[in-house]
């Protein structure tokens, strides 16, 4: 379905960036954490909670509040990012929290708050999908009840080609299209979908199909990362801390 023309970094159109790394348990103080590296993009996720809601009048008696903060550190990008939230990061934090709500069993933790911190350490496109991918691993690492993991990846178009997991260079193409995407493989649910760029319906179909395949690969890396984490913990607990 996707033609096998090489990209500037040597990848096939349907290939994830190299390296593509997922690692759980990278932030020691956090209840759960994960790092995702996709090429030059690096994101760390960490989870604290469920915990008390302060002030109390903000709590939801039926379920936990899931609060995400997506943030780019100042030197994650070439032009120093001014510290503090901007409109872009507020929107991304919101769509990520919305997507995660589909897998986190919030109703198990009424009247509490679950905080997810997502820090973009280095940015080379695809930071929101890397953040979301890291977030569900970090939540699982924290032992929060979840229906499933949720891999996320961008599909898009550059130089006339439908591509998986675009780099910043590809996103800067004249005809670039970027479609961040998150997915629950077991149910086929699409939980995050955004798109910028001029396309027709047929291209959208191709991008979604490509993104699904990419998500499936990422899902396996998420599972693997958690297994490695549990194995490490098991070893640790045998040694007795």
């Amino acid at each position: 379905m996707v033609k096998k023309i090489k990209r500037s970094d040597g990848r096939a159109p349907d290939e994830l960036r190299k390296p593509y790394i997922i690692k759980a348990g990278v932030v020691k103080r956090a209840q759960g954490s994960a790092l995702v590296q996709s090429g030059k993009t690096i994101v760390i996720a960490a989870v604290y909670g469920p915990k008390k809601v302060i002030p109390k009048h903000l709590e939801d008696r039926d379920k936990a509040i899931l609060r995400c903060r997506y943030n780019m550190i100042t030197f994650s990008v070439k032009d120093r990012k001014k510290p503090g939230p901007d409109k872009r990061s507020v929107e991304i934090s919101k769509v990520i929290a919305n997507a995660l709500s589909r897998v986190v069993m919030l109703e198990e933790y009424p009247r509490t708050l679950i905080d997810v911190d997502l820090e973009v350490i280095q940015a080379d496109a695809g930071t929101r999908v890397a953040a979301l991918t890291a977030a569900s691993v970090a939540l699982a690492d924290a032992g929060i009840a979840m229906k499933d993991l949720m891999p996320a990846v961008a599909a898009g178009r550059a130089n006339g080609q439908i591509l998986l997991d675009l780099t910043k260079e590809e996103e800067d193409a004249e005809d670039a299209v970027d479609m961040p995407f998150a997915y629950i493989p077991s149910t086929g649910e699409i939980t995050l979908l955004q798109m910028d760029g001029i396309v027709d319906l047929n291209e959208i179909k191709k991008m979604i199909d490509l993104a699904k395949k990419g998500a499936q690969q990422i899902y396996e890396l998420q599972v693997k990362a958690l297994k490695e984490r549990y194995a490490a913990l098991a070893t640790l607990s045998e040694v007795v801390k």
Binding site: K87, R88, V90, E91, S93, K94, V95, N98, S101, R102, M179, I184, T187, G188, E189, I190, T191, L192, L193, Q194, M195, D196, G197, I198, V199, D200, L201, I204, K205, I208, D209, K212
Partner: protein
Amino acid sequence: MITQTTKDYLVRLLKKEERRDGRKLDEFRKVMIEKDIGENAEGSARVRIGNTEVIVGIKMQVGEPYPDKPDEGVMITMCEFLPMASSSFEAGPPGEDEIELGRVIDRGIREGKVIDTKKLVIVPGEKVWTIFVDIYVVNDDGNLYDAAAIAAMAALTVTKIPKLDENHEIIEGEYEGKLPLNHTVISLTAYKAENVIFLDPTHQEESIIDSRLTVGVREDGKIVSLQKGMEGSWTEEEIIKSIEMLQKKAKPFIKQVVK
């Protein structure tokens, strides 16, 4: 505010593909577009969809280009839900709902290349026009996304560029001509509740919605933006079907808005 009984009733109706006000699933309430509603704006419009009311004003100022785009004008979109618009009544800096709405409308216009930004340069690399697209929600009776998208596009179609004196200061009340537009984009939104997809919900109907999908449609039929909002999820089929439906639905609005 909306009782569980009401919600249950709306869900039961929806499952029978019915709605409280008798509309079909893909039927809009009456949409009224008024242009040039503000004398002090370079362009403006009011859109009413049923009781929902959104006003948009376009203001133009002489500003600086972005360093990485020295030969292009700048567009800044702002969205404020006026406290009067709903019972949540909150004044203050824009919240995440206002930011998301503003950014979705912004992306439709920007990605659809509606404005000919190359023609907005005054002194290359130094002075360009900054176009403020200011969206105000006056009354929220549901489907703010579509009302805002139509109002923003309508306001742009009547926007005039002020005349400048030799010091590049605006001469009040005089205009160079119309803002040059390349395209028309209308973003429309499909809403989903209980696995039923429908359009143009009232505020009451929004209380049972799980998710929305906003699609930016251009006059040439191209899709220029997508945004899935809220906590629910979509299947691929639902997405494709919704895009097709909104592509069709957008056509009359695109015609109406350029009139």
